[in-house]
Amino acid sequence: MVLFIVAIGALYASPNLYGEDPAVQISGLRGIETNAATLDVVKAKLDESKISYASIEMEGGQILARFKDTEQQLRARDLLDESIGDEYSVALNLTPATPEWLATLGGTPMKLGLDLSGGVSFLMEVNMKEAINKAQESLVDDFRTGLRGEKIRYRSVKQVDDAIAVKFRNIEDLDQAESFLEKQNQSLLFVSDEDSLTLTARMTEQKLKETREYALQQNITIIRNRVNELGVAEPLVQRQGQKHIVIELPGVQDTAKAKEILNATATIEFRLVDTDGDLGAALNGRVPGSSQLLKERNGQPVLLKKRVMLTGDHIVDAGSSFDEYSRPQVNITLDSAGGSKMSNGTKNSIGKPMATVFIEYKPTDRVDSEGNTVFEKVEEVISVATIQARLGKTFRITGAGSQAEAHNLALLLRAGALIAPIQIVEERTVGPTLGAENVQLGFQAIMMGFGLVFLFMLIYYRAFGVVANLALGANLVLIVGVMSMIPGATLTLPGMAGIVLTVGMAVDANVLIFERIREEIRAGKSVQQSIHQGYDAAFSTIIDANITTLIAALILFAVGTGPIKGFAVTLSIGILTSMFTAVVGTRTVVNAVWGGKRLDKLSI
């Protein structure tokens, strides 16, 4: 069984021996699918420019083209980025050159952390104060329109610290307002003060939590979307704690550009389609003064009125669902000011088409006189829909296409209304040379540490030292095997230090056992008895000692971030595998070699 487990470990550790192929990874942007047709286009483009590729195939909704060398890879990237870069993200990648039979068994090499592979990691913080503030501002608006609608007279509605205060002229209005507002806003706590004729509303803890949660989730969605635009292979966007988002971009060197994209702003505008204007004439350059020619995502030109009916900052929420004919639709909720603007804007336009325009400020390669990157305003029509009725605070857009597209549109609409600004609070960039150096240094340290312990054990325990060294080797193979098997485990530089440390500490179990055996022999017991006693007596000590170290490692894992987590991972795995190899593993070997024989002396 020991052999079997070590063999499995070795099998899953083996993908790490194979190198990596340079590759280009192509995935669709903004809901565009990559399919067999795209594959043909890519193939044709590559053949046309006589770029030879090793293989090209669909893998998990993406196209992966492998190349023989990096030169071909770079040429292919530039070519593809130029030709289809608008619709697809074209990213450089290194794909493991794991042989097929291993890959089908689920064998993958270890994932390297950013400090080893090179790349940049950001920690972004969501401004929660602003998120709550915005939510309260919209409540103030809601209160005003609500009270006006109910014809309840009030003196003022104001935001006071973390509450909203409504002042009235008399007690009757106050009571009326209280019962009305309480019914409308279940998630608020109302307190009325009859002396000053003031009604104070405060968000409940639950509501505050929801608001924060929503702000965080929204930012994560938007950042994911932007990161996809960056064209990075295997990016990671993950929440961390209550208000932080971790972004890891392996292989990215141009951090300035990455930051600009992450910090870029996007908005949404609703505008009417100019149905009177002549599209044909506009295409020939005669655009009416009050209109503008824009393109839809599929390249179809649309003539839009320049006047903006509504901007995206009035959008409170957007989501996708199905209408009564189970067609996908996008539901939009506006704040009250937005609701009345929309209502006024659509009053006389029923039956006319309305366009949703997505505006993004993308950094360009140009630089202005002060050295700042020039941002280019990119406008894109993401949907054209016919106005069916006068629209109010909530409305829906149907006919946006597939469900995926509706979902995407909702996401973009929400992106136009970032409720809480975000800021980069931490950055760690590791250049490719330092990364490669770290791998080399870590590898050397592991080998040297291993070699020293190996020699020491051999000299000190002779034959039993050989057994301990076998266990140590098996332990190293198992750590690498387990690290490769666990999908979330990442190898970092401190992680490599963790492996080195486990090598030193793993022999401890064997030292405990062997010292015990020596003691028993000295006490005059027979060799077989001593071996048996040595293992038995040391066992509970080994368990206790390792469990306590494991506690420390697990706590480190729970609170640590990035590289520190990597250390905790290898340390924990190392403790577990070393217990197996040092106790069960060596016992098996010892039994096989020395078991059942009458011995007078032991080489220990």
Binding site: A256, E427, L434, E437, M448, A497, L501, A552, I555, V584
Partner: protein, 315 residues
């Protein structure tokens, strides 16, 4: 081969009082140094920006400093890092909105000023608030670790041992921190991780000793608790020494081969292993003895048949 062949029991506990005084002096010195010198907190905790660049030729630090000065970064700390071509530039946090762009700006300045192709090796930017949070989290992590271990050891052994081992851990952590403070070595996240690893290591040692003390209290019929502890320490001494040697061997490998980034980590562990080895012999058992550990405390416990559960694990 054997390093230690002890025929006689060493009367470790005879020097107990000396050890206690010695430890107390060292702890007081550590606290004093921590209070006056403070820890030299790294970027992870203070916040700020760090840029590491590699030059083609040996770097002229004065020239770089002048370059930084003339561009308004007069607070820049410029140092060599590992080799004469590697330079690290540290900048404090600024009231600047675009604090995260600092690193890139410095790179541009260096590129323009030296005319050499410089290799961006690493940029680290940590916002001030993040640093505070990390320091808080780190302290919390250490406290949680100590409490969890206290509970586990109290559950597995006896409260006197638990208290003894936790005091030993506290002693180790304090002395390691103290040494970092005296030597003014940079204290960053990896060092914090190393200190938690020291907790794990030192505990490992203490448990092995406590385990043997417990066993001997049951086995050895005669003798005072002090004698039993002396016997146990003598019996485990060669194991303690050998494990320390193998651990120190790998740490030496890390220290000399691991590179500049791992240096602080290896240093903390090297110091910690030394202190931990000493404390497992003296601190933990002295405390248990001082608290009045005796045979009766350990005997009534139902003696589990050691190794009984091992049968199943055998292949």
């Amino acid at each position: 081969m054997q390093i230690l062949q002890l025929k006689e029991t060493v009367a470790f506990m005879r020097f107990r009082k000396v050890a206690v005084v010695f430890s107390l002096i060292l702890m007081a010195a550590s606290i004093f140094s921590l209070a006056t010198n403070k820890l030299n907190f790294g970027l992870d905790f203070t916040g700020g920006t760090l840029i590491e660049v590699g030059f083609e030729q040996a770097a002229d630090l004065n020239k770089i400093r002048a370059m930084m000065d003339s561009n308004g970064y007069d607070d820049a700390v410029v140092q060599l890092y590992g080799s004469s071509r590697d330079v690290v530039i540290r900048l404090a946090t600024r009231e600047n909105v675009k604090a995260e762009m600092l690193g890139n700006q410095v790179l541009d300045i260096l590129q323009a000023g030296t005319g050499q192709t410089i290799d961006m090796r690493r940029i680290e930017f940590v916002g001030a608030s993040v640093g505070d949070e990390l320091a808080e989290q780190g302290g919390l992590a250490m406290l949680t670790a100590l409490i969890c271990i206290l509970v586990y050891v109290a559950f597995r052994f006896e409260w006197r041992f638990a208290l003894g081992s936790v005091i030993a851990l506290f002693h180790d952590v304090l002395l390691t921190l103290g040494l970092f403070s005296v030597l003014q070595l940079e204290f960053d996240l990896t060092v914090l991780a190393a200190i938690l690893a020291v907790i794990g290591y030192s505990l490992n040692d203490t448990i092995v000793v406590s385990d043997r003390i417990r066993e001997n209290f049951r086995k050895v019929r005669e003798g005072t608790p002090e004698d039993v502890i002396n016997i146990s320490l003598t019996q485990t001494l060669s194991r303690t020494v050998i494990t320390s040697i193998t651990t120190l061997l790998v740490l030496a490998a890390l220290f000399f081969k691991g590179g500049a980034l791992i240096h602080g980590f290896a240093t903390a562990l090297l110091l910690g292993v030394f202190v931990g080895t000493y404390s497992s012999v003296y601190v933990a058992s002295s405390v248990a003895l001082a608290l009045g550990i005796s045979k009766e405390d350990l005997i009534p416990e139902v003696i589990e048949k050691e190794g009984a559960d091992q049968e199943e694990m055998r292949p």
